[in-house]
Symmetry: D3
Subunit: 304 residues, 6 copies
């Protein structure tokens, strides 16, 4: 259960309105690497965590913080839109390049749909959606996603930092940058701790390493003609997992059979010359499991 | 430019058709962490790479390989669908639990739309889309995303490995697991190399560390009541970047002003009691840049 | 079955082209509260209505009208795009702020994709989709959605009314505003009539009121610290349904157990320390329904 | 800023796992009328509210509660998935109708992607997205949307109530039903209060009533042949807004001009026989606003 | 403007309910090649048509018919869902393979969301969206799309014809198949007529043939190793447009420069070693068009 | 399996950067008719082709070429973005119409998300998705889709050709136009060849012509009032398939029963007055197939 205070985690005080920048800031609220993504990714990971204790508690702390970041960005956008020339007609814009500059860069929906507030969408107006997040239950895989999301998030924040001169906006972004720095450190530390605790190792998931075709777990297939692909550490020496030697396959050849589809079901009307024969039937009907035995007993006619 | 051979990178030979499993395998072709995602993520990163040499060449090698994995999974799905009871009526299913079991688990579009072939969609039928990928130009941020995607990808492959008994399917998955293992090692090694080469450091991007509010780059805000959040390494000691001390804020208080929107534009019809006054105008019109000077010179009436 | 006349329901005669406004008008054709939404929402409700007579006939009348509104907006957009500077190059725009003002505010797809016509998308270019509509079969729930959609629709139309000076465009919008006014009155009246006819009451659906935990159907949980939440009518007196007393829970405490996930299936690779034990099996396999009895009779080995 | 407690708002204790029901419950977390929608709709409305006091405080109270409902449903889904036969092969299903029944009704992504947890998607696997919500700033329009969403939400919950026999699941749903009942009453009361406070009236928005074509704000256009459309209150007497008389247009005729597009720009390659002549140019370039004057002064050649 | 009659274009009388088939039929209402697509594609093409007369009138006739097909399929789905076991619990399904067969194949949203009616979605539950349609204004390009859509539509209908034994359903499908046959003939005839009328030729659009690099308009680039690609008519003889000779490029070599990105803007933080130098500035600022001259005159300091 | 060379299929050398045009070019990479669509459509068709030989080999040749076109457009976009004023603040834009013109027309995500590179999205920022493609297995239906996609693609390229003055960009587009010309000829020739080879005929699929209601396969239903719909070849004479006479139904009347839904399941809460009686049960439970017999034998109580 959640509780809320009206006070923002950090100050959100732009010096002046700037509707064009309000448009760009949408990326931080509804983009694939924005605050909605980290909020929902961490919440779903926390709820899906199968261990009590420090990991679950950590995830819930951060998730709850991130929801407050959505609040900060939504508030910043509304304040940057104050008095925006949303209802100026095109005629005005055409005669006034100052208005033109602003109108051309505004998000139409911030005026027409939300009446001067934020949308739950990215800087191109595409709504945020649930496929941006992952909560797999495997903490190593998920913490790597988290470190990646925080990296893209700080990168986008840094780019946006250079797109404004407003000291109030910059002040808020200095806070966001700092939190993104800490959160990168945090998830990297948590990955180390998973290993230190013996819960996960280097490869996610830490299993089936004996089942996989080990001979194919080691080398770079050189399928593009850039000549320097083997100059890096990924083509030589011991792998980060400490278990594999890494190498380079300079002239890789296909190992598989020739690509083809099976003969088609005539009732599905694939174009077909008959050369592959008739399709075989799925195996299920010919096997005698429990149900097969029952059917034989009750009704020996298999076409019944 | 690309070239193609009809021979598959590895064998794709299911022992028997299995349309229910063909449905599940869609996740590996069109899911957020499937083969389409790695293909397009790596291609776009390679084309967006701003340095000649080993990094770009590496990315293009892997990208080209992954496109061949889309081909493998698409072929496997078609072969698993051979002779699937797609055109059996519901009446048959109701009378035959063997058919019922299969029909209930099939993907309707694999029959109706693709006629026994793969769809470019996930295991719930949602089409693959371009927002699953990232190619930011910052290799540290992107390689972290790559390591994360390969981790989720291997995790999903491992889960799917346990959902089939077919030795031919398992044989292909053993290859995919191995490649995912190598690719995890590869991206982890490439991250190390970026640092060794002095191109990136621990925090992405490696800049604005002096601009950000450093005092907020260090501590976990304890906003959920789980008592163990400070038991981990992320709340103590030196951060992975070697530059920050990490700490714990046990009773964090909001630092910001009270959340509120500005006074609304009356023509946008937000419900309003007038208590906040009139909205201020955006700053642009009152400033005298080049255009302001021109306007003053030509037409002193600012409403013109 | 439908019939069509080429004459528009109302005049669509802009005085002058205005491609920037044509961009904004997309919201009324393909936005979540645009004409496509009301058309398809009402059609699907009419077809899904399970009573002959006035309600079904009403819905079909309005649905058929709305399709004509899609036609009007699509025509207006095409006419506003006449002679738009779609093929002017950026160089021209950069040298001419008049062109710049227009180009910056145009919808690229209205030129590149539809060649000077409307798109089936909103003012940010996101395609209209079927999740915007609802047709639940419950007329109270659906008529409330209809009244809500007409309210948002008139609100957006009113905002757009202020964004143009073109008397021809404004003339059409005066018609749309009037229809939206009538349609709000209409659905509010229809909600009253459902109650007068004894078909529905205040709560949708009008059932399970005795099954629900009545003690939790009455009070506002005060989970945010704004001090005035109990100053409204929703926290005092008899509820609109005439059946509940409404109140305020000033210091609500969680009533539930502690959030946690169950022990995970090891083959799904959730990170796990084993502290929660083994997962239990779903109940189905241990019950002896018809199939269980059959299985016992035919094959006493449950692992068969 | 938010805070979180690990204790759930209400008990979430299913008696037995039921993965098929877990699939259906996705509708309440990620469907268009599920808990994510009310959470984000209310949060964005609260942040976009332009008045201090009871309305804003009310919205934030409810929004904060709803986030706790997402938590409840996500937890219920995870518990219903305990020990689900996710890794049983199709062969097993084909031989055991008990397993078949379960496998056929499971959500593949709940196993493959989230490892036994909830997805942020609906019961057909479509990810939740930000276009499901509205926060227009106009409280009348928004509260109508809220009443509508709570109505659809309770309707879906009531349907789901009949799809399970599990007393623990039903216990939670009894709580959800009760909250949905209260929330319907709440928003209906809040709509009354907006009017009592003189902030809004019956029509949203409460303006432009004099600008609109009043003669078209009153009657039902009879465009479908069902004979009973005029039998309802919407076609007679005073409208709910107390300002209009409602009527019926039994044989409506189109009032507008003939539908047509303007002559096309030849460089956009619409198929065209030339009969409509050449397209006119947009008006902007021929007008002499500030910029026109500047251009004349500096460079009299308009093609420059 | 449209009018509607309650009588269906053709009989929609299933003999018995069949909820599993109702699920599959969703493809014909909300799939990419279903009735919503042809309805909206033809409507938008008709409204976007820039010539009066036979082509526009034809398109509007067909468009209006197709809307009636949406009505037919929506009605069929509702009737097939009559008495569907939507509210049977999983426990019942697990004990009764007849129920299991049905439940496993049902669309959860047809029960939970639409209460026994159709959804505006495909057979995997993905909502229909506006990107499925095209209305480019070029009739040759659009009629080819129309012929293609009718072909996919008849193909899917034919597949669905084999998935049911219900004589009432088959009777409706016999009508749909016939209309799809006519509509294929129709669009093929209309393509011929465009050419006969001298409005379009073989290549769409019929222009820029002299501007394009003609030497590359003739041959198949052999980039995959299948040996038979040159065995078809597309690699020999005169092209269908009567203007080109078609050929085969057996060993094609890249004609372009090496793929690379330009030097990056340092404020965007692409990883960069500096080897490509500094990025050049876009050309606009250095050119002296109208605005450049103005700026020089008013403010000679270009950084002003 | 694929291989890649770093050399582009054709030169991609813009003379100057042009970020506004880079925005528009997104349509050719991620639009519904862009290079991603043809790449994935042809790849999936090739892999889904059920015949060895010329058709499959042809498709794979073209598919492999198209992937190289994605590469070309992505590279062009990056080069056009060199030195784009992405990090100029709005204040600068407001004072400089040259910057304003550029900023207003830029894609925010090309700066914020991809750091100066292409996105996998269209010119309105909507991500490319897998529903744009079709690979049905029926080559006639698919080749018609291919001819249609190439037509829309060349049309969009031709429009974009007129939107730039840059000789380097135009040079690349001359190549693309030429390839689109050839590809249109190619697919039209391939359609002829399918017929010449006796694999398909005029109607797709070439079956069920005797099953369909032939009397409805011939005439245009005149449902819109445009008077010229029967002036075209589609309403007279022999159809393109050589098998039907085409005609015109001047005053078509509905042939079907009255539209209505069946009586609703009371537990789904459709609003209902009972006039249609109780819903019938689906037929399955009353039939005695194999399972019915088993159930009778084991447990004569049908409610068991």
């Amino acid at each position: 259960m959640f509780r809320h205070t009206d006070y923002l985690q950090f100050d959100v005080k732009p010096e002046k309105p700037d509707p064009v920048y309000a448009h760009k800031l949408q990326e931080l609220i509804g983009g694939a690497y924005g605050e909605m993504t980290v909020t929902m990714q961490y919440l779903m990971q926390g709820w899906n965590c199968r261990m009590k204790g420090k990991y679950k508690d950590l995830i819930m702390d951060i998730a709850t913080e991130e929801m407050g970041h959505v609040e900060m960005i939504a508030t910043m956008i509304a304040r940057l839109l104050e008095g925006a020339p949303a209802t100026d007609s095109t005629k005005n814009a055409a005669g006034d390049p100052v208005v033109a500059a602003v109108l051309g860069g505004m998000d139409p929906q911030q005026a027409i749909v939300s009446g001067g507030g934020a949308m739950l969408a990215n800087s191109n107006g595409v709504p945020w959606n649930g496929s941006y997040i992952v909560a797999s239950g495997n903490l190593l895989a998920d913490f790597r996603s988290n470190a990646a999301v925080e990296s893209q998030g700080r990168l986008q924040t840094a780019r946006l930092f250079h797109m404004t001169d407003d000291p109030g906006v910059k002040d808020m972004l200095r806070f966001n940058l700092a939190r993104d720095t800490y959160h990168q450190n945090l998830w990297l530390a948590a990955i180390e701790e998973l290993k230190a605790d013996g819960l996960e190792d280097t490869i996610a998931p830490d299993d089936l390493l004996d089942e996989e075709h080990t001979e194919h777990a080691t080398s770079l297939w050189h399928l593009s003609d850039g000549p320097d692909a083997d100059k890096g550490r990924w083509a030589h020496g011991t792998a980060p997992d400490g278990k594999h030697e890494m190498g380079f396959l300079a002239d890789p050849q296909p190992l598989g059979d020739k690509q083809s589809g099976p003969p088609p079901d005539p009732k599905l009307y694939a174009t077909y010359d008959g050369a592959l024969g008739e399709p075989s039937k799925p195996a299920f009907g010919t096997e005698k499991g429990v149900m097969g035995k029952i059917k034989d007993a009750v009704d020996p006619d298999p076409t019944g």
